[in-house]
Symmetry: C2
């Protein structure tokens, strides 16, 4: 794997100059033709032996390509708001839009490389991290992000010689950090970790390329060639099944059909119970223990099922500084130029905070499926991607609760008519709402499949009978309060 | 000022019901007609006596208006990344886009109210804060943001009675926090602070409205009426001169014309000096003291003056995790739907970080002026707004350095021709660049005026002779290194 790179091959100036001119033209063309016209993005992941010129790569690509469409994404140890969220949050949030390139330092490989270069690496951790990375990259590839991963490599002798040469002059000695001097003692371990990482995560859609780095010209040429090859990749390659997250076969029940829609509550019981539940919610949300957790609430349901009213009964008990409501509609151009889940990752709450989604990422397997906005291959893999996303939320300490507010077709009709008649409610009803009614059965089927595939312990669905608004609101509040009180 | 509110007026249910229906329709219409069609945004600032129902206002407006276009912006004491930046950063970053409404809790008034309600308020601080707020709001108003500021008020007796009533039942007692109980002892002080704040910051373009809040119906109706009046405000009102930041008369010199364009450097001196300066920069940027500061670098200059090359000589000495390069072009729709400086505030660096702007906010008084993209009334006030912005950066510990790379028309022509000939440089030249050359004199005049009006001590301009690229690059590096070494 490293044999060629450790021979420290050299590219002479005479050979390099004509190659450089050709590569620069090709890179620019690929940037315009392959990325911008085809609406794809590119991630260049940078890793390898220290002192092999990873940093110089940024300058090279910025000089050789059009730098207006390149963003350097560099990460150190997680800190501040990063620590309050799943580890992948910081990478998600920075994903470049279509047409542009991200150069990633200290990527999602940093923890894996660290683990693999320990004296006694934990094999389970290596396996688990590799699986997570493979899923992440497969998802990116499927969403139109090209990935190429560069491992900068040179021989141990060349590494030592480079440090010596740079240290000899005050004009270059600053390029050698104390860390560089230390790590060359660990050469073998980092080399081994490279092998482990490449073996576990190399793939057709996100290949690792070893860059011989002892010679500057060779390094530049090979880097450019690897980036070029990635940009020229024709279409999304077939992603091997072992790289994709799966939801197993699920027994799809007609949960919507089997719900008891007659549940109701009279006004007096409601008012009193509402106050008590809101009191419990207020106390739980202000508790010390909640300051170490977070809460993610998802609201879905038929049009006019009462999502907005249920949400207001929750927020009434909360401090306005504590929550955010994200109403979800069709993505705007800013959002649709990134992988699907990006716009939701942006709203992942920090500690002590509550994120409320009025509609959500489930649009992928509901409206986008039924209205044929998204091809089946895309929404089918969404179940697993969503489960992955929510597992990461739960894993970082978030309580994830999902509510489906269910009404019957006749109640919806009544409410639609009411809305049309009321001068201050008719903004809530559009021709779309009427059209959706025609597809009631398709939506019900999509909902039942969604419930079957994504009702998981760490992020449960609560299917709420909502023909009676009072009953539904208290049910929602009760589930939230119970979950908070049990978990805190 | 508070006489009416302290009489605790009541609106009966009979009077409220028909009014409510009318107000809701009017609010919705105004939201669509006045905000969305006219491309304006609205900020509702919420303040007042504790326990007067500030929180209920969020629920009210979300229920009465279309909640998809309302965002609650609530702030507590500054924390985390907020502390590393100017105090106004968090408000800037959250400014709502055109067509939408922000409800602001814990706004820019919080520190002023706190100061004014102290036993012995510092009058200088009150004056200074008021001036800053007035400028901020005048700028927002001039950029198409309607502002209305609500002071929720009730009598001391009503405040006490409300707490008692709520505490009497477990269904409502949670609505009274221990803080509420404490603050009613401070009623007089908060009342006084309200008077001070309103006297200092009330204006036609950002009025304060006192909302009688003892009675829920009255509070709801008056809130709705105040918000409605703000949305209906026809156009940007005349902003009184005392509210606007001014740049005094400036003597505009022909600094561009007087520059020595013959300065140059031979290759050998350059290579050696470059390494030494980069070494000093690397050390300064990695120093402990810099971790408490930040650096903002602005690059402007004629097309082909060598901004990109100068920037790469800087970043070569830096850790990729430490800096961000923001290339500035015409704003996209996401950016242009907010006040002008918004997109730059987003990139204000945190501690220990370096923000590099390849072109900048000065586009307002350069390309936007010369190309008549922005009317004179707007770019004329930009000088003062920019000075304000940079003063805030410097005030929060940022070093702000601005570079104008200056070349002569003949050198530009040479470089343009070179670019056209080179297969990997011709992406850098567009018909726009040629067109700009025809307006060389207009650009020079705009540049000289900009230098005269915005070359300030806390954010100096360095006018760099750039006909010789090597000379220019070293000059830039030298100024940065000197500034860092002197200040750290």
């Amino acid at each position: 794997m490293f044999a060629e790179a450790e021979a420290d091959p050299v590219l002479t100036k005479e050979a390099f100059k004509p190659l450089e001119a050709k590569l620069r033209v090709a890179l620019l063309n690929a940037q315009y033709q392959r990325l911008q016209k085809a609406e794809k993005s590119l991630l260049v992941v940078v890793a390898g032996i220290d002192g092999a010129g990873k940093g110089a790569t940024v300058n090279l690509l910025n000089e050789w390509m059009d730098p207006r469409h390149i963003k350097t994404l560099a990460y150190g140890p997680p800190e501040g708001e990063e620590l309050e969220r799943p580890p992948m949050w910081r990478y998600w949030k920075d994903l470049p839009p279509k047409g542009s390139t991200g150069i990633v330092f200290g990527s999602w490989y940093a923890p894996l490389i660290r683990e693999a270069s320990r004296k006694h690496p934990n094999q389970d951790s290596i396996e688990a991290q590799s699986v997570a990375i493979r899923r992440f990259e497969a998802m990116l590839a499927a969403e139109g992000t090209q990935i190429v991963k560069l491992w900068f490599h040179l021989s141990s002798d060349a590494q030592r010689a480079r440090a010596k040469r740079l240290l000899a002059s005050p004009e270059t000695s600053w390029q050698v950090s104390p860390i560089d001097l230390k790590v060359h003692k660990k050469y073998d371990r980092i080399r081994n970790s490279g092998q482990v990482v490449i073996n576990h995560t190399d793939s057709g859609h996100a290949p690792w390329v070893v860059i011989p780095s002892a010679d500057e010209n060779m390094r530049a040429a090979r880097t450019a060639e690897a980036v070029l090859a990635a940009m020229r990749q024709q279409s999304v390659p077939r992603i091997p099944p072992t790289f994709v997250a799966h939801t197993g076969p699920a027994r799809i029940l007609d949960r919507l059909g089997q719900l008891d829609y007659d549940a109701k509550l009279d006004r007096e019981d409601y008012e009193s119970e509402l106050g008590l539940l809101q009191g419990r919610l207020a106390r739980a949300a202000r508790s010390k223990k909640f300051q170490e957790r977070s809460l993610v609430l998802v609201f879905e349901g038929q049009d006019a099922a009462g999502k907005g009213g249920a949400i207001r009964r929750i927020t009434h008990a909360l401090d306005a500084r504590q929550y955010d409501i994200t109403p979800v509609a069709a993505p705007n151009s800013y959002e649709s130029s990134r992988p699907y889940l990006w716009r939701f990752w942006r709203h992942v709450p920090g500690r002590g905070r509550i994120a409320i989604f009025d509609r959500s990422w489930y649009g992928r397997v509901l409206v986008e499926r039924v209205e044929k906005i998204t091809p089946p291959s895309h929404w089918r893999r969404a179940y697993a991607e969503i489960n992955d996303f929510e597992a990461q939320l739960a894993g970082s300490g978030a309580l994830v609760l999902k509510f489906w507010l269910a009404i019957t077709a006749d109640v919806q009709l009544e409410r639609f008519k009411d809305r049309e008649k009321s001068p201050f409610k008719n903004f809530k009803i559009t021709p779309d709402d009427w059209r959706n009614r025609d597809k009631w059965k398709e939506y019900a089927a999509a909902t039942n499949e969604m419930l079957a595939r994504t009702d998981v312990k760490h992020a449960p669905w609560h299917l709420i009978s909502a023909n009676d608004k009072r009953y539904a609101r208290l049910q929602v509040l009760w589930h939230i309060v119970e979950a908070l009180e049990n978990q805190l």
